[in-house]
């Protein structure tokens, strides 16, 4: 076993990135993720890497675009309003098939909103966010240990599929401290980067990294190739956790820090004699429809809990396909759902 440390979520993301071989980080300050930048500013010079505070989120994502074009592992991080600014660059990187890791430690919106935890960027993260037909691989950690492991995985997945991978966390995950066990060595996937624009040394044809194809027939073929890739990922990369679902009459569906609260609810409910389980998506895109197929027969109902108005709810309904009732409870604006509130909803569902 490697080191066992008590660390803050944001710092673990930064450490994980460095361990995954990321040596280029471009960022801009915004609460509640700024500790990532602090950690990178301190550590990158010591490992021969680059930390650069950009003049804006827009510039930061374009610096990521440049570094990713050279084939290097690169990351940026921000929180909701800043991620909105990055959407242009994310669309371009997706169009140019560039691997990069982007962290969104979500806060309440819309607009400048607030700085307390939220999950209201689910649609933005999983349905595209910027213009065009594209997806990101979206990973939703729910503990500091998972922030570490999934950040490393994000770099591997990004390289493997030549696309943007996003770590979607929230203010709770970014700010909390838990014990993290670091591995002695990271499982780094070496991917082909012969497409990179890094200088041809007069030894090959010139490479071009671009997202523009003015001929619609060419652009359609490019899109078809992207969609084929997304299909493969949907089949191969779904991840989820099932917790006490085998005998559950009600299955809560929740991700990230809300899934932690939901675990408390499962315990409290079972102490009351109500059999509740938890289905926790770990990949939000691809959405883990396979998990629903595994558990669909047993429960009387599903209950989606989110720190939003009910965004993942739509994917849950698509996965359940009308076979069981799907309920929702959630909080918005930086408020965190309480165990008692979720229990009240469960009692209400049972009374129906």
């Amino acid at each position: 076993m490697g080191e066992r440390l008590l660390m803050k979520g944001n710092e673990v993301i930064a450490e994980a990135a460095i361990r995954a071989g990321c040596r280029h980080y471009f960022g801009y300050p915004i609460t509640p993720q700024t500790e990532i930048a602090h950690y990178m500013a301190k550590k990158m010079p010591k490992v021969g890497g680059v930390f650069l505070q950009a003049e804006s989120e827009v510039s930061a994502i374009n610096m990521v675009y440049g570094a990713a074009s050279t084939g290097k592992r690169v990351m940026t991080s921000s929180s909701s309003p800043g991620i909105s600014l990055k959407q242009e660059g994310i669309s371009y990187a997706s169009g140019a098939q560039l691997p990069a890791v982007i962290v969104n430690i979500m806060r309440g919106g819309p607009g400048l909103g607030g700085i307390q935890p939220s999950q209201s960027d689910y649609f933005q993260a999983t349905k595209g966010g910027g213009h065009g037909d594209y997806h990101l691989i979206v990973l939703a950690p729910s503990s500091v240990q998972e922030l570490y492991e999934l950040t490393v995985d994000a770099f591997n997945l990004a390289d493997q599929y030549r696309m943007v991978a996003m770590i979607l966390g929230d203010g709770v995950l970014g700010q909390m401290m838990e014990v993290v066990n670091f591995r002695d060595e990271e499982p780094i996937v070496k991917a082909d980067k012969s497409w990179a624009a890094s200088g041809h040394g007069m030894k090959r044809e010139h490479n071009t990294v671009t997202s523009i194809h003015l001929d619609p027939a060419v652009l359609e073929q490019w899109n078809i190739a992207l969609q084929d890739k997304y299909k493969t990922i949907s089949e191969k990369e779904q991840r989820f956790e099932l917790y006490k679902c085998d005998d559950a009459e009600i299955i809560i569906v929740a991700y990230g820090s809300v899934a932690r609260i939901a675990k408390n609810v499962v315990q409290v409910a079972r102490e009351e004699g109500i059999k509740v389980g938890l289905l926790r998506p770990i990949t939000l895109w691809p959405f883990p429809t396979k998990a629903f197929e595994q558990v669909i027969d047993k429960p009387n109902a599903f209950l989606t809990v989110e720190m939003s108005s009910g965004q993942m709810l739509e994917d849950v309904m698509l996965a359940v396909k009308g076979r069981k009732p799907v309920h929702f409870t959630g909080r918005m604006g930086g408020m965190i759902p309480k165990v008692d509130d979720i229990m009240a909803k469960i009692r209400e569902i049972r009374a129906d």
Partner: protein
Amino acid sequence: MAVVFDRPHALVDIPMHYCPGCTHGIAHRLVAEALDELDIEGRTVGVSSVGCSYNNYFYFNCDMIQAAHGRAPAVATGVKRSLPDNIVFTYQGDGDLAAIGTAEIVHAAARGENITVIFINNTIYGMTSGQMAPTTLLNQVTTTTPYGRDAKEHGNPIRVCEMLSTLKGPAYIERASLHDIKNIKKAKEAVKKAFKVQMAGKGFSLVELLSTCPTNWGLDPLESLDRVKNEMMEYYPLGVFAGKDLEV
């Protein structure tokens, strides 16, 4: 038969899509000649922008990256910070560099980012058909200033070289013109020097090239060259604005 004039190796042998009388082709050639003469094509990464030159990644033989509108200096920063030993240049028009990309160019210059910027100033948006650019001269008629650019209504044209030379970051800034042979030769020396400044690790270099846009100016090619000389050079004087005494 002796070859006295040939296509530079750093230019791909395909026809360009630019309008007759447009000076983009000359500017491309000057960049390509510099890459050839300095023998740096193999380690150069170019960043094309958004505007008429959006697809010059087809024309340059070095590795190329296509950037979002205005973001080329940020993209180039990402490239240079990843490959500090490579040569990195951006090729940007006036709308790209001085309107939507103002923040990116100012901060790349302020950081003294060791990249070379080729800045094409033709006082108009070409690709989207002749709208006002930040460099459009007062009284100039464009599709979005049909009664002429009025300072009160539309603001004044931006002099990029003068503005950036107030910063400490830039090592070398020069404005040249492409309106006649004598000036093209001077422009070539400026472009070459800008790359040499980068090769020497001196920091940010920018060459502004006064250029034509016959199509959107509504002038023929020769009239367009005259306009550069007679109208543009008055507001945009040629010369070195930073690094006058810099030897490379």
